[in-house]
Symmetry: C2
Subunit: 260 residues, 2 copies
């Protein structure tokens, strides 16, 4: 089976020109077909503030009213996405920047306004992803770069969690490819002790995850990432790794597997 690497980077890489350049070089060195999915939250909040719109959050998740939707679509699909594409083109990677609306790649369902109305926020259904178009691009040597903006197939753009976007695309492609999903973030991996970046848990089975969750060893912010990861593994993805972006080219990080 053909291989594809799906790599998600968060705001900490996107916000730093040096970190981004360094990461994109390493990303470009991956020989197999690959897909990049990026966040960009801090930049959106900065633009939002400059335009006099105070970011609204609930439990660390952005509430997306119409004005905020404009800001995130502008930031993620506009500046961040196209800047990444231009930089990849510079180093010889034939990237194409996409939102979920483009080619109807990633349709989503607007989240139920109850119990909390998150506004223009969409949840992705992996089985509705247009994997044929993504496969066509990959087969033509093109590298898709996705921002986490989707659409409801009824004319509205939707703001979507970038981790979920990455794991959904990974699941969708797992019927065509052997998929390796890599979440890059600011730590070396999933840590036993949040303060000690050397306390990486090298291998996490689903059983160990339940134990870590019960003992509250993994932080609140890490929980959805791990839930996303195990959902991906349970739905056809071959391998999930959580690591630091600058370690993309070295074997350091947490490898998630269903069982030993």
């Amino acid at each position: 089976m053909r291989e594809v690497s799906i790599i998600k980077i968060g705001g900490n890489v996107v916000d730093s020109p040096e970190a981004l350049e360094n990461f994109l070089q390493k990303f470009n060195n991956i020989p197999s077909p690959k897909i990049l999915i990026h966040g960009g939250g801090v930049i959106a909040s900065q633009f939002s503030k400059r335009m006099g719109i105070e970011p609204k959050m609930h439990n660390g998740r952005r509430i997306t009213d119409f004005e905020t939707l404009k800001i995130v679509a502008m930031t993620y699909a506009g500046w961040v996405n196209k800047s990444i594409v231009a930089q990849l083109q510079k180093i010889g990677c034939n990237a194409i920047g996409l939102s979920g609306a483009d080619g109807n790649c990633v349709p989503a369902k607007r989240r139920d306004p109850k119990p909390i109305d998150f506004g223009y926020v969409g949840d992705v259904e992996p089985q509705k992803i247009n994997k044929e178009l993504i496969d066509n691009l990959l087969s033509n040597g093109i590298t898709p770069v996705f921002c986490a903006i989707t659409h409801d197939e009824n004319g509205s753009l939707l703001n979507t969690n970038a981790d979920t976007m990455a794991s959904s695309i990974a699941v969708a492609l797992s019927s065509l490819y052997s998929v390796k999903l890599i979440f890059c973030f600011e730590k070396n991996g999933v840590l036993y002790s949040a303060d000690d970046d050397n306390s990486v848990i090298p291998t996490i089975t689903e059983e160990l995850f339940e134990e870590l969750r019960e003992k509250e060893i993994v932080s609140a912010g890490m929980l959805p990432k791990l839930e996303n990861s195990f959902a991906a593994l349970n739905n056809g993805v071959e391998e999930v790794i959580i690591k630091k972006a600058e370690n993309l080219d070295i074997e350091l990080g947490s490898k998630l597997i269903l069982k030993n």
Copy 2:
């Protein structure tokens, strides 16, 4: 030879939700393969003002410093482009939104800073356009929607005139397709009398254009559009029409031809 329609819309359509919806319906009704190129200047200026950046113009052309480049990339490639794509998807047109950086579709050369430094502004060379990728998308039933953002192949995005973008893509595709290029704007066509929207000049040959230019019948704003149009006709484009966006589906406007 296969046919393709390349249609450019300006800010007056993009700025009005009703006009845009109406236009996109008519655009979707065009049966042949088609490409949309859009501007979006007024929205960019509004965002720019809200962010405290005063738009800088020289002879009606925007001077694009780095902060302004961010604004135009965000507005054109982000909000405007993705909103149009989502609306086309809603009505059954499988659109994909692209900047010139995506798939290296439209590389450009940063304009010489002398005599006037326009900043991050790029001029397109039609022979460098990636017509194979555009053809691949069209052949797969996908409708490309271009914003007028390009890149210099060295990591920088560039702001580009949308009319020039449209005529350059038209010229590039003319070796593969019989190309019809349509410029939509706020008037019924090229007018004998700027105040009288009924004074449309139905057919304009290159000879008549020279006459109109000498007698200063065509306005300063119309001149580059006509120059672009005749350059396109002289480089393989089959037909150029200048008309009002809402008349896309009816035979009203100015048809440009090389000679009678």
